[in-house]
Amino acid sequence: MRDLRLTTAFRDATAAALLAALLALPMLGFQLTGTAQGLTLDTRFPWVGYAALTVFCGRLALSLAGQILAPLFKAKLSLPFLLAAPPGRLRNIAGWTMVVLAIGLPLTPFTDRNLLDKATLLLIYVMLGWGLNIVVGLAGLLDLGYVAFYAVGAYSYALLSQNFGLSFWLCLPFAGALAASFGILLGFPVLRLRGDYLAIVTLGFGEIVRVILLNWQDVTNGPVGISGIQRPSFFGLPFLASQPGHTTFHEFFGIPFSTEHRIYFLYYLILALALTTNIFTHRIRRLPIGRAWEALREDETACRSLGIDPTKTKLSAFALGAMFAGFAGSFFATRQGFISPESFTFIESAIILAIVVLGGMGSQIGIVLAAILLVGLPEWFRELQQYRMLAFGGAMVLIMLWRPRGLLANREPTLRLPPLAAENPGERPK
């Protein structure tokens, strides 16, 4: 083993300690204490020393450990068992296992209402991630305002059902279509923009939609939001103990009433919606339009030289991505029974984008893993209170250090050359 560069490590640690001391001086060194005579300024300089010492030791240990462990890390840990980007078949098996687990989850004995609620929330984010994946992962258009389409879907359902008494199943296609048209509306002005510029404009669009929802009092009821949104029914059978003039779900099936029926139904509903999104993306990737999206992500100039219309291709990606956000939005509205502009802030867009990027652009299973990590874990660790956001940030930094291209980054070709059926490959096809 090569000799440890002790001096470098010491110099590094000293620099870090100095920096820590500088930072700690105002933050730890002085303290305001309230006494009977008013506020007084106390000093606690030993604390600054402790902080600097801790940082010094920590930094020294870290760089020494790094020097010792780096070769080992390179050899073994760069290929961790689960996330080593499995080849196509393994990935298929993993995908189907996940589907079976998701379907079976409500039937397991340890499942309670709380778990199912969290799983439903998780699935909303998985679906949003899969939807945004069309725009960001496949077409390579960085969209920071995705939550706007989610909001459009939610408000479409809420308003249609409140004002016109339409049922959830009727509203779903409307919400999708409305969100898709908003996608096209956003798409037109931003067609010429790429990368950072596109991100800024989409961010602005997301805010515009939220501000409109806040201020258009007559229609959206402003910051108060819309409450009492019609809850979902089992194809017309409401989940209620009794409703005059209506057969309820438990009466129809002759089972005792339970409030959990609706929870189960909502879970399966979002599971079906999310899986539809997945199957759709999976199929469309293998169609010419899907390949054109990916080609556009790789090189727009080359696409144009091959006769691909960049305008239509981009707009279709925007529209389809937005459509799924619209579906998810109307599900959100019917699940909560209440929506307000509060639910559609920028942080939601950021989380959905983080799910797509961390999952590995374009990877469907990667998105599920990232959603569990970014949405599921913080939900389960609510007891940690504000520290969970710290853990959230830490986890993201770690993932970016460890797998900078996302959890599952490598890409499967959309089609492979089938083995030859004819005898002569040199034949020019007619």
Binding site: A292, D299, A302, L306, G307, I308, P429
Partner: protein, 271 residues
């Protein structure tokens, strides 16, 4: 206009601010012929290509392309992607522009986008796996296989295009352009960066394309072993203007050409 002329460029002028990159340039490219555009660095060759393919809009001039059906397309008025889609003019790039993250086969399938889009009823029929789309896809795969076999990349079909060696990437880009079923193939320095063996093979490929597909080929090239051996017609540019035109041997003997190349013989040009 000449009857057998495929591409006809008349009085083409392209200015960038005060600089005239192309100045009153006229030339023809014929069907079933290889036309080469040569000239010293900065002569405006790539600018000509960019005008032809719609990346630049020329200030003055007319560029007409006669399709086999007899329809005449005025390229200077068309949007870039329509030139490739409707007028069927395909091009390659000086610095290769493949879809590097996609597989070799996918590169060739993307080139058949418009055909497959129609076959899949703009994705609607494709989404439900209609049999007519599957047949169209099968035909597209066979065409891709034909080209992979021709450029010797049949065994690399499922590799990412970016992982191929340089020479193979050049050949793949030509194959991708050919998969769009063009009437005129424009190649921007196809032999740049190739070794002598590879550029010899390239000559074979281009002659093969010309004889088998009966299309016109327009190429910019510095490698005189390519230009002189396979071109039917050579156009020499200098400072954006045409200084000579004719058969390779006639151009080689032209004093203006020798002068433009700073007195060096055309067999050993300054590249």
């Amino acid at each position: 206009m000449m009857t057998d002329s495929l591409l006809c460029v008349e009085h083409l002028t392209m200015r960038f601010g005060g600089l005239s990159a192309i100045n009153d340039l006229s030339f023809h490219a014929k069907k079933n012929q290889i036309t080469a555009i040569i000239g010293p660095n900065g002569a405006g060759k790539t600018t000509v290509f960019n005008c032809l393919t719609g990346f630049y809009k020329p200030n003055v001039g007319k560029i007409s392309l006669t399709s086999p059906s007899g329809r005449i397309f005025l390229l200077e008025r068309m949007e870039g992607f329509r030139i490739a889609k409707e007028a069927r003019l395909a091009r390659t790039f000086q610095n290769i522009r493949l879809f590097t993250g996609m597989s070799v086969l996918e590169n060739l399938m993307v080139a058949q986008h418009n055909l497959l889009m129609r076959a899949s009823l703009y994705s609607l029929a494709g989404l439900f796996g209609s049999s007519s789309f599957r047949r169209a896809e099968q035909r597209a795969l066979e065409l891709a296989r034909y080209w992979l076999n021709k450029i010797g990349l049949l065994d690399y079909a499922d590799q990412p295009a970016g992982s191929l060696p340089y020479g193979s990437q050049r050949r793949l880009e030509i194959a991708r352009a050919m998969c769009t079923d063009p009437v005129l193939l424009c190649l921007d320095e196809p032999a740049a960066g190739l070794n002598p063996k590879e550029s010899y093979d390239l000559n074979g490929l281009l002659l093969d394309i010309r004889s088998e597909f009966q299309i016109g080929i327009l190429l910019i090239e510095h490698d005189m072993s390519v230009v002189m051996n396979i071109s039917d017609h050579v156009v020499v540019l200098d400072h954006g203007a045409r200084i000579a035109e004719g058969s390779p041997t006639a151009v080689q003997a032209d004093p203006a050409v020798i002068h433009a190349y700073l007195g060096t013989a055309p067999e050993e040009p300054t590249c």
